[in-house]
Symmetry: C2
Subunit: 302 residues, 2 copies
């Protein structure tokens, strides 16, 4: 089955403690789409400015990502500059230019309004809700990401959205902020009360905790000897999850576990280089091999 | 098979963001022994002062812990006062009085010198090495803990010890400090090079990463809705691991995984209350039930 994603497309400048890379392809919808494209047909809805390099468009097309919902608006593409701390987890945003993304009013193309799997990447909850309303029928599975900004400034809108989605994907620190709970299990249970039957709490290098009405699931981050740039890890994690769910068409609790493990695998490749560089080097077979390694990593023999 | 532990015994005063408890039983060897006693016969070697309350001795005896190696010296028992930060991970040591522990010169009782499983709880590496030398034959399995103090001040001694043990149990931050590596897998691999074939890196609420020459294993922390006091989590984690290995007499890679999972389970009970309070309320069956829940938590269906 195919998968629709609506979110940001940006040009990023990223500094790590050891390196700096300017003007790279980034944005939540980009990372998500590229990761999900290993699993299923992806339709991307987003906006770029007239300055968006055609080479990026070509790259996405090479992954057979449908760009009919990619709007090209007068003005410049969204830009973000950030610097990671020594711990490679915390980061400071040095500069944000929303540009054309500031007035982004997503329009899902007619042909994509019956897609069964939908990911509402991080954005204003009211805009996320508008996208969901554009669908001709309720998709089989809707997941959304959010961030501290929306939790703080548009909490009411976010709580409305939460009643209409199947899964919330959220960072550990944001889950804590949203609920005032330090323990992630407690935070996840509190978010379940707000509506979504599945809460996927991202813990960076420590993997994820999935809290659901049917039970809970923990997956570690795939251990790496070297992390180059964490940018996009969370979005490619979500891309792997939704991509696998859409590929299999199976949203059962058992298959959700497999999907989350695939998400962890794709995210582990993402952080091995800047931007999409490492993902551009791999094939689906590499993901499946690392997935098998992840299965072995967590296996507790009977 | 039985299990010998050598380490500290203390009276702790602990402050969390919400509560303070004074004069509680603590110390690495105490936490370790109590946890391991659910699995196997434990011999404890340590030192207390004349002020050590007899009620603590009675408690340990109720767990059939052999106290023939518990020395009672002139002076006062080791005392530690600490305060946890809001994140319940970082802590400040407010006060340390080594007292009789400052000149601790462990003597393993004759009858305990042929025990097959040995845990050298956190202490000066030269003292840990002296204990190992007292054994009549090389135990089947020797594990040791260490801390930042020894890594910084007695690195040479520590490196000598590392060549003689089977497993090092170490905190994530200490593994990073010891190796200068941020990624825990890389840190673990670097420590393997120093000698021990097994490196067990403790990650607090995030569980542990086990790096071995035979492959790696990740276990999450058992998710809890409430953490009351993290003190002793690492020592009871080690107690569960060594206790299970000694109970089964099996140090194979597969059984090490089961043992580490048991360690995570005991540690999860420890942090649910101050000192040994929660462990005092549970039975082996509770550990086995939570172990089954942990198996389900990490299960990725085929």
């Amino acid at each position: 089955m195919s998968l629709l994603v609506v979110g940001s497309i940006g040009i990023d400048t990223v500094e790590t403690p050891t390196e700096k890379r300017a003007d790279q392809l980034g944005g939540s919808a980009i990372y998500f789409s590229y990761a999900a494209s290993f699993y299923t047909k992806v339709h991307l809805v987003g906006v770029v400015g007239k300055d968006f390099p055609s080479v990026h468009r070509t790259l996405l097309e090479s992954r057979e990502i449908d760009l009919s919902g990619l709007e090209s608006a007068e003005g410049k593409t969204f830009r973000w500059t950030g610097r990671y701390h020594e711990n490679m987890i915390d980061r400071d945003t040095l500069k944000v230019d929303l540009n054309v993304f500031g007035s982004f009013d997503p329009k899902v193309p007619e042909a994509a309004r019956e897609i069964d799997f939908l990911f509402l990447a991080n954005g204003a909850p009211s805009v996320q809700a508008k996208v969901l309303k554009q669908m001709k029928r309720r998709p089989k599975f809707v997941a959304a990401d959010t961030m501290d900004l929306w939790i703080e400034t548009t909490r009411g809108d976010l709580e409305v959205l939460l009643k209409d989605i199947d899964a919330l994907v959220i960072n550990d620190s944001e889950a804590r902020m949203m609920t005032g709970q330090r323990e992630l299990l407690r935070a996840g249970l509190d978010i379940l009360e707000l509506g979504p039957p599945i809460v996927i709490i991202k813990k960076g290098e420590h993997g994820a905790l999935v809290v659901t009405r049917d039970g809970h699931f923990a997956v570690p981050g795939f251990p790496l000897e070297k992390v180059v740039d964490p940018t996009g890890a969370g979005d490619t994690f979500a891309g792997g999850i939704l991509g696998y769910l859409a590929e299999t068409g199976d949203t059962s609790p058992a298959n959700l576990r497999r999907a989350v493990a695939h998400g962890a695998v794709v995210a582990s490749y993402t952080v091995q280089d800047f931007s999409l560089e490492q993902l551009k080097r791999i094939k689906r077979g590499d993901l499946d091999n690392r997935y098998a390694m992840l299965l072995d990593l967590v296996r507790i023999p009977e």
